[in-house]
Symmetry: C2
Subunit: 275 residues, 2 copies
């Protein structure tokens, strides 16, 4: 893994073990698809990082300098994943943020995951998401719920797990958002109490005329005409199976995938990309 540590001005800096990202998960991250050495949907990722920073009372980093550093790190990558971590920086022991704290940006390059052929085989997770409006929507570094949920299976035949909150509402998959088809509409869970507002989710909500946020139950998902997951690395992924429930390929998902590939060629379908 290639990685680099920067300050908020984009100058090279160093990590140290007093970092509050490590001590408390006091920070944010973004996971960005790199295609032909370019960060895909940079603006949307950066915007979400800024919203997260505001929610955690972190200052805005220098976008131009950080983006330059990202592009330099990923310069030779045809297809890869860039991870940006933004931590509050090093402080003493204790939750109070010291005045002299200097936040950090950590950039790292990762191999692109294999495309998921055809679609997703998923299961329901028993781990629930806690309801915490103060942290809902943002991509912060407190991710033990996702770690526990993802540890519920280790078969490579299962790609994802779908999660409910502690009230039983469906929220997301461990590392993707979810949409279900019902009566000609695409519905995705409201994320004002938990979950992460994904950039691909936002693209679908903006670009699919009959899509909206709603409260969804497990029954809503199981009775849906079609289901897909989405994230910024894989784009739109049809769900073929969720525990015992099987779905046939749905033309409206294919239509959305084509629309996405047209809007953003990095998301051209695996078969077309020759993978």
């Amino acid at each position: 893994m290639q990685s680099i540590v920067l300050n908020l001005d984009g100058d090279v800096s160093e990590f140290d073990l007093r970092d509050r990202g490590l001590a408390y998960g006091d920070g944010l991250f973004e996971t960005i698809l790199i295609h032909q050495a370019q960060p895909i949907w940079w603006d949307a990722h950066w915007q979400r990082l800024l919203i997260g920073a505001q929610r955690l009372h972190l200052p805005a980093p220098n976008q131009i300098k950080i983006r330059k550093a990202c592009e330099a790190l990923m310069a030779n990558q045809d297809r890869a994943v860039l991870k940006i971590m933004y931590t509050r920086g090093s402080g003493g022991r204790g939750y109070a943020v010291p005045e002299e704290v200097v936040p950090r940006i950590l950039l790292s390059a990762h191999p692109a995951p294999k495309p998921i052929p055809n679609g997703i085989h998923a299961r329901w997770c028993t781990t629930r998401l806690a309801i915490q409006p103060a942290l809902a929507g943002i991509k912060h570094l407190n991710r033990l719920e996702q770690v526990l949920a993802r540890s519920e299976w280790n078969s490579s035949d299962i790609h994802e797990g779908v999660m409910c909150d502690t009230d039983g509402r469906v929220i997301c998959a461990t590392s993707a958002n979810i949409f279900i088809r019902r009566q000609g509409q695409w519905l995705t869970p409201t994320l004002d109490r938990c979950g992460i507002t994904g950039v691909t989710r936002a693209w679908v909500l903006e670009n699919s005329p009959h899509s909206l946020e709603a409260h969804l139950s497990c029954e809503d998902v199981m009775h849906a005409e079609a289901v897909f997951l989405c994230n910024a690395v894989h784009g739109i992924m049809p769900v073929l199976a969720l525990d015992e429930r099987i779905w046939a390929a749905h033309p409206d998902i294919l239509a959305l995938q084509y629309a996405l590939a047209q809007a953003q060629p990095a998301f051209v379908l695996g078969e077309i990309r020759g993978t």
Copy 2:
């Protein structure tokens, strides 16, 4: 800050930026008072670390070797704080735990905080604790709620903030447990849905004949005859004020403080210790 990185056998190791403690808060910590170079209540801290490890599916570290390393790190410290972090170690990108992951222990030495003279001036926090039974009780590294709660004030006249869960039950202070006096009993919140089961809290529950766990509301706290906070660094701390509510020093708190100092001389009262 002096610090050292070990593997679970207690051998010297290295930190790297792929550590899942940093990426996801995937790990645990303990904050241990050092008095005359000795870790105070080691057994209780270690036991909680093991329970946390079990809950997060982490293996048990070598206690004898890790304790030796702690004592070596703290050998010249008359009074200080030892922090143990236990992370799952480095893994690839993504929530799934790779098979080859090697967990890490990070030890760091910190100055002992100043004793709190007389007692605590506290306030109610508006940040709520999410209800998450899967993580309740253990001292894991996902602590953004405490960071947000502690950021609600910066006056040094306020020592602590008292937190409720999202259902409005009182749970704890940002870095201490809470007990209230009612009709001759010491009551402390049940922690099966959120909060951390503190080692000093456990000592009080075991050693005070009329102490028990209960569901407590804000009104219960405000109507209490007496209130104290406790943690493993400061021991038992009387609460003198909580927002507008004022309490006089209560003889039963003093009695508990003396009992604690008798059981564990490291917790001898500040005045007696001459600080």
